[in-house]
Amino acid sequence: MSTDGVVALRPRRTAPAPAPHEIDDWGRDPRAVGIVWGAARLRWHVTLGGDQLVPKRAGALVVVNTRRYALAPIYTAFALAEALDRPVRFVGRPDVAPAGPFVQRLGGLLARADEVTRALHDGDLVVMGAEPTAHPRHVGRVDHRLIGAAVATGTKVLPAATASAPFRRGARIEIGSPLTANRKRRGPLAELELADQVRERIAVLLGGFGGVATGTPLDWLPFSGMGGA
């Protein structure tokens, strides 16, 4: 199977789903998520905005900006899962023990377009990060192959700005309205254009966070939570 996001789509499974406290088909363990999220709250106090824009039941791809080592997709997935009371997966689990299986229990997916496509097709909510940057106001490149998964499955793509500080608890997530491709394309240009559009939209959302912008190298210091509590 290639990882270009082109996978054959099938009707969704209708078999009785495992009980809510059981490990699901992807290996996500709600109990492990509950324990880790409980501990993670000691580190982050997350303020979530725009969650009413996220589909309550249907699949969607949420794209967040990530500052290096900030684990933004993970705390975004946890915060969304709590707010929406539904499982949320995130992209970017390693495939080596012990981290790989542990992150899988928390809802992590491999950064493969076919995995994201299948999860979205199953009606899951998936959070993916843009390429990490050192500056909290910059948005890295958005992997168009993963955006292609949303295009292939016809699911919504929502941009989300995140901000957190390394030495403070405050973290903020602001989800924007769903984006659709500006033009109808027959080929992979649709996902490329949508990825660029998502990146620009996240930058606009980040601008809305306010915070100090001196225009000097001080802005590069990752101390600001930019509107975080």
């Binding site: 009707p11 699901d24 088909d25 992807w26 290996g27 899988q104 997916l109 995995e115 299948r118």
Partner: protein, 328 residues
């Protein structure tokens, strides 16, 4: 579905094979049912004709199958390593059965369809492999059992292409059931069970009744191509051990070899593909099953584990004839 079909089941003596045969007996489209195996069937069959054939009797197998001239061949004669034979024997018996049964089936003029047993082990668990592979993913086995089932699928596909019949493969998750000889089932029921403390990844299972239903449906619809058959949900070794109130024995890596030796002496040898599952997990996308075969597994993986631990170790059956001097 055309009626009046003759169906041959190889491996009819095993728990899964005899269950498939008993379900096929109730199918209205099945006119005649015959089976071969080295051991007699595990349950009473009303219509099926059973032939006990010792492995290696190629001439007899060819003679029986060509005389029966089946329309559908259901090939279940697959020996999972350490289920009923050690890995070397299992590989030999499986390859031998696949070659002789499928080879004989190719000589039958009425043959329309072949359904073979395969396993999720065919996808392998190499680093970077998809978490939930589907049937379009490349077969890339990383264990001996995976190579065995890949060999069966390859034999069936080449044969089907050559003679122009349908060839379906059911890629089963690890089959667990009260009387199914399963190395995983035996291991999990031991008083103390090793698990990989650094990984403990999730895996999915399958109940033998769901597997049997899939074989019957595959034979009915003339399945062409592979289909994953996997129960919903997943389980990790540690969670299974805790559900069964067994003693978890954490393993880091090198001591697995030692644990395997201890388990071997205790009567629950651990084959390579089970060790791989405990380290790398084994899940699969089963969404094609309802689309192609129109059925869905009725047991979730958690229910299968709970059921595994509810089987009695010893079943006491009262004597049918009272002992002399005893009042019935």
């Amino acid at each position: 579905m055309a009626t009046g079909r003759r169906v041959l089941v190889s491996g009819m003596g095993g728990e899964l094979g005899s269950l498939v045969a008993s379900l096929l007996e109730d199918e209205p489209w099945v006119e005649a049912l015959e089976g071969i195996d080295a051991d007699p069937p595990r349950r009473h069959l009303r219509r099926a004709v059973f032939h006990r054939v010792v492995p290696g009797q190629h001439d007899r197998i060819v003679d029986l199958i060509t005389r029966f001239d089946p329309h559908v061949v259901v090939h279940i004669a697959v020996w999972e390593p350490y289920s009923r034979a050690n890995p070397d024997q299992a590989r030999y018996l499986t390859d031998d059965a696949a070659t002789s049964v499928l080879g004989a089936a190719a000589e039958c003029p009425s043959l329309e369809s072949i359904v073979v047993r395969s396993g999720l082990e065919i996808y392998g668990r190499r680093r970077g492999a998809p978490t939930r592979p589907d049937e379009d993913d490349r077969a890339d086995p990383t264990s001996g059992y995976g190579e065995m089932v890949a060999g069966i699928e390859d034999t069936a596909n080449r044969l089907a292409q050559r003679i122009g019949v349908a060839a379906g493969a059911l890629r089963l998750a690890t089959v667990i059931g009260p009387h199914v000889p399963s190395p995983l089932g035996r291991l999990l029921r031991m008083p103390a069970v090793p698990f990989s403390v650094l990984a403990d990844p999730p895996f999915a299972l399958l109940r033998e009744r769901d597997a049997a239903a899939a074989f019957v449906a595959a034979a009915r619809v003339r399945l062409d191509g592979p289909v994953n058959v996997v129960a919903p949900g997943a389980m990790t070794a540690l969670r299974a051990i805790r559900r069964g109130r067994r003693i978890p024995v954490p393993m880091v890596g090198p001591e697995w070899r030692f644990a395997a030796q201890i388990a071997y002496l205790a009567g629950a040898p651990i084959p390579e593909h089970v060790v791989e599952m405990f380290h790398r997990g084994r899940l699969a996308d089963g969404s094609r099953l309802p689309q192609v075969l129109g059925i869905e597994p009725q047991w979730t993986t958690s229910e299968i584990i709970d059921d595994l631990y509810s089987w009695p170790s010893i079943i006491h059956r009262p004597a049918r004839v009272p002992a002399p001097g005893m009042v019935a």
